[in-house]
């Protein structure tokens, strides 16, 4: 068996090595002077940690364990600062709606008959049924100018 590194010795000391390997390592350490020395050093280090760090928290040992207060399901307080992002977002959306550029209706795709109908009724909404039943007669000249339009019931 090869000699162990310091890390392996530390792991051996802390019993963090596979149980099947423990016996073999233990035998090796007993026979190997170098590894035995390293183990001794690791044991001394552990004692040093206990001496230095372990004692630094002993003042807490006499403090009694207080009763635990079960947490109450609390509601988050709505503070002004939490509302600010929502206010900003709402303002931005409002401004976009106020100053949006497509306010004027698009006329290009609307058939002429529809425009005439729209003008005739001064922009009022039409009854859908009436609209379906009515017929429009448009009189045009040779150049395509509208001479007269007639709406029938």
């Amino acid at each position: 068996m090869k000699c162990l590194s310091r890390i392996e010795i530390q792991e051996f000391l802390d019993k963090e090595i596979e149980p099947s390997l423990m016996a073999g390592i233990s035998d090796h350490i007993e026979r190997c002077e170098n590894c035995s020395k390293l183990l001794g050093q690791a044991v001394a280090d552990k004692a040093l940690i206990e001496n230095v760090i372990g004692k630094s928290g002993t003042m807490e040992d006499n403090i009694p364990v207080p009763e635990f207060v079960q947490p109450v399901l609390y509601k988050k307080r709505i503070t002004f600062y939490r509302v600010i992002p929502f206010l900003v977002a709402a303002s931005i959306i409002g401004i976009i709606f106020l100053f949006r550029s497509d306010k004027t209706p698009v006329m290009e795709n609307i058939p002429e008959a529809e425009i005439l109908l729209y003008e005739y009724y001064d922009g009022k909404d039409l009854n859908k049924m009436w609209h379906e039943k009515s017929q429009i007669i448009i009189l045009q000249d040779e150049k395509g100018n509208v001479i007269q339009s007639i709406i029938t019931n």
Partner: protein, 168 residues
């Protein structure tokens, strides 16, 4: 294990951990309560904790790191608050103990947070797997990290505080 069992079993241990990290008694109490509060909320939500001990330490350590980064943290209290109240013999002995403790904290502060934490966790008897979970490192590298931390602790002792601990 029920919440009450976990609370009774690990309360002192966590408090001790906090004090060893050099948190003032008041803050230490707050952090401990907050950690258990989170644990309790987790249990109420039906979270299954395979290793409550490691989980508590991990949450505590994360809270400590957050506290260190916050403005209200004064860098611990031990160094400033330990003064002898009177000059009787008992008080002198008490003062000596406190002074030694102050030096320990001062020395630990010279180590990095991770070194300090791994040494304290090791001292608390956590397994390598638990330490890996708490420190969020690879379980295979715990041994290496621990040995390096021990080396740095010894180096600090050798340079600054050899006299204080050589008789022990």
């Amino acid at each position: 294990m029920s919440f009450d069992d976990v609370y009774r079993k690990y309360y002192k241990e966590l408090r001790r951990f906090g004090r060893q990290l050099n948190i003032s008694a008041e803050k230490c109490e707050d952090l401990t309560q907050e950690t258990f509060m989170k644990f309790c909320i987790g249990i109420n939500k039906g979270v299954i904790f395979n290793n409550p001990r490691a989980w508590l330490y991990k949450v505590y350590l994360n809270q400590f790191k957050t506290l260190c980064n916050s403005r209200e943290y004064d860098g611990g209290s031990e160094g400033n608050s330990m003064k002898a109240d009177n000059h009787s013999e008992d008080a002198l002995e008490e003062y000596s103990k406190k002074e030694k403790r102050r030096i320990v904290f001062e020395m630990l502060d010279k180590l990095t947070d991770n070194d300090k934490a791994i040494l304290i966790l090791y001292n608390h008897g956590l397994s390598y797997a638990e330490m890996a979970e708490v420190l969020e490192i690879n379980p295979n590298s715990v041994g290496t990290t621990l040995v390096r931390a021990i080396d740095r602790l010894k180096e600090t002792l050798k340079i600054h505080y050899h006299e204080m601990f050589e008789q022990n």
